[in-house]
């Protein structure tokens, strides 16, 4: 039976899709983004953080029974299951099985993915989801590789394929804005131009950098790669203006 390595299941998630949701964080990620705020989800091994073990093997049924506990909170909005991580595509078979079973149980489904992973699984899953969030970090291949551990070619291709899927849920692209990496206007401008080449109706949002996962690195006995950097004052507003200038943004259509 399919089992997944789960880092955490978080109830009452308000920022991971429409309505009130339960987010399932899978363990394991092919990337090593310097700004990662969930470092305990990177490795595919269970590990100890601040005395607690993170990383448990669970079946699809076990995961969904936990998700369904909050079923009463999904009713009035479009709440439900969000799969996140780590990188769900790293356990593609499990994620696909999970989403399939969730739909059978009439749960609304969403996924957050870096886009770095098997296209086959990605497209099949995207075709089933109500909402899919994909990261778009930078158009600059070299910089992308330096800061995340991988280039962006495969990711961009995956984004294009998902964007053109005839049958899919809402697609929302997100850019984590990281000082020193992609927080200059030209960088965001480049991303906006790329997004404009895609079919219309795709949401796009900027996620400003925050260092609130920093304590986790200490808990894992690791150094925090980002040190003490901060976004310059007013930078996000400037970047948002660029996004809006391209007619892009996020509409609260599915509350």
């Amino acid at each position: 039976m399919e089992q997944g390595l789960i880092s955490n299941i978080q109830h009452y998630s308000l920022q991971d899709g429409p309505g009130i949701r339960t987010t399932v964080f899978l363990k394991g990620c092919p990337l090593r983004c310097r700004w990662c705020c969930n470092p305990e989800t990177q490795s595919m091994e269970p590990e100890t953080m601040k005395g607690t073990v993170t990383g448990t093997w669970m079946t699809v049924d076990q995961v969904l029974r936990e998700v369904e506990k909050d079923e009463i909170f999904y009713r009035h909005g479009a709440g439900g299951l969000t799969v996140s991580g780590g990188e769900p595509l790293m356990q593609g078979a499990f994620t696909l099985a999970l989403i399939r079973e969730a739909k059978k149980r009439y749960l609304s489904t969403a996924m957050e993915t870096s886009g770095q992973g098997d296209s086959g699984f990605l497209l099949e899953i995207a075709g089933l989801l109500d909402t899919i969030y994909m990261d778009i970090k930078s158009m600059d291949e070299a910089k992308h590789r330096k800061w995340t551990g991988a280039g962006n070619a495969a990711i961009l291709q995956n984004i294009v394929q998902v964007a053109y899927l005839k049958q899919r849920g809402r697609l929302i692209l997100r850019t984590p804005v990281i000082p020193g990496f992609n927080d200059e206007p030209e960088k965001i401008e480049a991303i906006c131009q790329f997004v404009e080449t895609l079919p219309p109706g795709i949401g796009y949002e900027l996620l400003p950098y925050h260092r609130l996962g920093r304590d986790k690195y200490t808990g894992l006995d690791r150094d925090y790669p980002m040190e003490d950097v901060k976004l310059p004052e007013g930078r996000i507003e400037t970047l948002r203006a660029i996004v809006e200038g391209h007619g892009l943004g996020l509409w609260d259509y599915s509350i």
Binding site: H11, Y12, L14, Q15, L231
Partner: protein, 822 residues
């Protein structure tokens, strides 16, 4: 998405800090009134205490309700009346500014030492004029010594009950805590509507007529009905006289202050007309209600301050008429109501006793103003006035009134969204009460459908059916964490080592199974409830000797019909809804779960070791403490802990189902602490869930501090899972949920808050109130982490206890310059 995600209130505070001046939505009379009193320390006004004392001195031996009415009349005749610039509503119970009132008939025996302590007291301090203090010491206090209810009650309990209730010096022991000696009655709602419909003169006329039909040969007529009717008539005369004296003063002011002549004449005209007559306008309706409300406060010290009923319902016809006729605008109506809120805030609930102060910390007040819900016909009753109350709550920066919103299945979408928006504004109001939990329970206790549908919120989280509810005796708060401690220590508590206070339930050290232990605890729990019921028996018996409520009785149909004062134990036709509080629910559940798991299942610790660890307050037992803290806990939607919670709940319900009837009342199980979980915690040593000695117990139906790791959905679900819905002997479970503005930012955020409220409603939970997390709270949590251990912050995929985060991470969250998903 906004980055500086501040609640409306926080935005206002920041602007105020920036500009140095208060910021208001509208600059009207009400804001001017508020400015004057906002930061004042309250002062004791002795007039009510003094005039009651003077009158009582002259009426010895007379029926109590008549004595009370005479005292009210004496007050109405002689008390200083005030007409204040900018304040359209006349009538107050004390001097201008913030004031507290004395009720010497209640616990006047401790007046002297209380007065001495009050100005410097940490919890809710008051000032007193030295000349007034002298009058208290020389005139008021001596008269009441030996006569107060507090003293009477203090000698009434049998020794075993006494032991659980009071220390040797008569102060509260915080174990099985009676709450009747510091408040004249439990929370209450008057039928304000009858005053609007008939006028006081109409009510008086009926009483006069009935007086004329009495049979002088009938002893009952002469000794019972006659005093009741005379008290009614005198009370009616008193309140009308009081109002008229305000009219006279207003006219004088009009003469002296021609610039504001119209303003003062308007007040005079209204005070001449109401509450004597049915009001002719919205303004007069509000003024009439205000007179009744304030006169009620003069009459007695109702627990939580007198509640105000369904204001959006009984004021509606007047509001609607005036708006349509162009007599008043919505803004003017709002200004008038806000004037009332300020005036409400000036009366500060004054508790003399330590228990009273500690249970009502921070000048607590719950003068519930109810909006929304269904009407008598079961149809949604929301109207424009409901929305005006909500708008005022958003606009006006004052935590009065205690706004309570009824929610039912067909509450309009707009209503739910505006309620959510109002909550988000930062004040945490309104609190929500669930029609679909409350109404069936009222029906199960004998109410008609119409009565149940028409309930008003009362006090902190209770409900009343005016003209059907008749119970007024305040009830016991029970410290069940103390029961657990006594289970472990043979009926003793470490705070009072050597004294056997409760039941010695046997050699717990030798128990082989958890069932044996649980059984022992339940016996101790039952023992506590037994004594709470004994307390209640005596309280009900004795209160009628000390308290009468001629105003309250005049306004209550069943009282009028049977000529019985509200404080009498039995009023024909009445439904008596009392309750007792289960304090420390989460603490006890978690402790039992820890014992079950680590003592009896995994056998990692023995009871003897646990006892030792508790004796040492876990010093030297840090590993054990950590282990105990890892046990399943209530509030996490975990069946392991919730099953225990459900059992505790059921055992308590079984007791009350069996023994309430013989007292003639419903003594329902409730989980509503006010702030009692703090003083209750101070007498309980360390508990098996890892809680340290003398620290607060769990609060209401919330999880123990720091034990809720799965967020608010799990807390609601645990609440649901631990209720026994096959029983009717249940009342409120207080539920406070922390809400972060950034989490519910924008329209999406409001929608999600509405969804959460709808789920709460579906679960048929009685009450919910949101405490909006703001920068102030977070800074407080930095300063006093021990009080904020369950402050959970969620950070994009990660939840953490704020107090466990490193200092500069905390500062980050406080600074909020980046968008975070807390």
């Amino acid at each position: 998405m906004a980055l500086h995600v501040l609640s409306g209130q926080e935005a206002r505070i920041e602007k105020e800090i920036e500009t140095g001046a208060p910021v208001y939505v509208s600059n009207n009379r009400a804001t001017r009134l508020l400015e004057r009193v906002r930061t004042q320390k309250p002062v004791i006004d002795i007039e009510r205490g003094l005039y009651f004392t003077e009158s009582f001195r002259e009426t010895e031996g007379q029926p109590l309700n008549l004595r009370w009415a005479k005292a009210l009349y004496h007050y109405a005749e002689n008390a200083t009346v005030y007409i204040e610039e900018d304040q359209l509503l006349a009538g107050r119970a004390g001097k201008l500014g913030r004031y507290g009132v004395l009720y010497p008939e209640l616990d006047g025996d401790i007046l002297d030492e209380a007065i001495a302590r009050l100005p410097e007291r940490e919890t809710s301090p008051f000032d007193i004029d030295p000349a007034d203090a002298k009058i208290v010491a020389e005139v008021i206090s001596p008269f009441w010594k030996g006569k107060t209810f507090h003293e009477d009650l203090g000698t009434a309990f049998p020794p075993d009950t006494r032991k659980l209730t009071y220390n040797a010096d008569g102060t509260s022991r915080f174990i099985v805590n009676e709450t009747a000696s510091y408040r004249s009655s439990i929370q209450w709602v008057h039928d304000y509507e009858i005053v609007l419909q008939k006028g006081i003169s109409g009510i008086k006329a009926e009483a006069v007529e009935r007086l004329g039909t009495l049979d002088p040969d009938s002893a009952v007529d002469t000794m019972e009905k006659k005093p009741f009717l005379e008290a009614t008539i005198l009370t009616c005369d008193a309140i009308v006289l009081w109002a008229h004296r305000h009219a006279v003063l207003a006219r004088e002011k009009a003469e002296r202050d021609p610039a504001n002549r119209d303003f003062y004449l308007k007040i005079a005209e209204a005070s001449d007309w109401v509450p004597e007559n049915p009001p002719r306008s919205f303004y007069e309706a509000v003024q009439s209600q205000w007179y009744v409300q304030m006169f009620s406060r003069i009459e007695q010290k109702t627990g939580t301050v007198i509640s105000n009923g369904r204001m959006d319902q009984y004021l509606w016809p007047y509001y609607k008429h005036d708006i349509v006729a162009g007599i008043i605008t919505a803004d003017e109506a709002q200004e008038l109501l806000e004037s009332m809120w300020v005036a409400m805030s000036e009366y500060v609930d004054l508790y003399l006793s330590e228990a009273g102060g500690a249970f009502n910390e921070g000048y607590a007040h719950w003068e519930a103003v109810t909006i929304g819900g269904v009407d008598r016909d079961g149809v949604d009753a929301t109207n424009d006035l409901s929305y005006l109350f909500l708008r005022s709550k958003r606009d006006f920066p004052l935590n009065y009134p205690d706004l309570a919103a009824r929610v039912h299945t067909l509450s309009p979408r707009r209503y739910l969204y505006e309620v959510a928006e109002t909550i988000k504004e930062g004040s945490g109001f309104p609190k929500l009460i669930n029609d679909d939990e409350v109404i069936p329970l009222l029906l199960a206790k004998g109410a008609t459908m119409e009565e149940a549908n028409d309930y008003a919120v009362s006090g902190c989280s209770e409900v009343r059916m005016p003209n059907r509810d008749t119970y007024t005796s305040p009830c016991a708060y029970i410290n069940f964490a103390a029961a657990l401690e006594m289970t472990l220590f043979h009926g003793q508590m470490l705070k009072w080592e050597g004294e056997t206070i409760g039941l010695d339930v046997g050699a717990v050290e030798d128990f082989e199974t958890f069932d044996q232990f649980l059984d022992a605890y339940l016996r101790e729990q039952k023992y506590f409830i037994r004594h709470a019921f004994i307390q209640q028996h005596e309280i009900i018996r004795l209160r009628a000797r000390h308290f009468a409520s001629p105003l309250g009785s005049t306004l209550h149909k069943l009282c009028r019909d049977s000529f019985t004062d509200l404080h009498q134990p039995v009023i024909p036709g009445g439904i008596d809804l009392g309750y007792f509080e289960f304090i420390g629910y989460g603490t006890v559940i978690d402790s039992l779960a820890a014992i079950r798991k680590f003592v009896y299942e995994e056998r990692k610790v023995t009871i003897r070791e646990l006892q030792e660890a508790i004796r040492h307050n876990f010093e030297g037992y840090e590993e054990l403490r950590k282990l105990l803290q890892s046990a399943p806990a209530y509030g996490n939607n975990d069946p392991y802990a919730d099953a225990i919670g459900k059992r505790l709940d059921r055992e308590a319900l079984d007791f009350t189902a069996k023994y309430s009837g013989e007292l003639g009342i419903h003594l329902d199980l409730r989980l509503v602490p006010f702030t009692s979980h703090v003083p209750f915690g101070k007498v309980v040593s360390a508990t098996p869930n890892g809680r340290l000695a003398w620290t607060p117990l769990s609060d209401g139906s919330s999880a123990s501090q720091g034990a809720d790791k799965n967020g608010p959905t799990a807390v609601l679900l645990s609440n649901f899972a631990t209720k026994n819905q096959g029983y009717r002997d249940r009342a409120a479970r207080l539920l406070n949920v922390k809400l972060s503005p950034s989490c519910v930012a924008g329209d999406t955020g409001t929608a999600k808050l509405v969804q959460f409220i709808q789920a709460w409603h579906d679960l048929r939970l009685w009450h919910i109130q949101f405490n909006v997390l703001n920068t102030e709270t977070l800074r407080e949590a930095q300063r006093k982490p021990e009080e904020y251990r369950n402050l959970l912050v969620r950070i994009a995929g990660y939840s953490a206890y704020f107090t466990e985060l490193s200092r500069d991470l905390q500062d980050d969250i406080i600074a909020r310059t980046e968008q975070i998903a807390i």
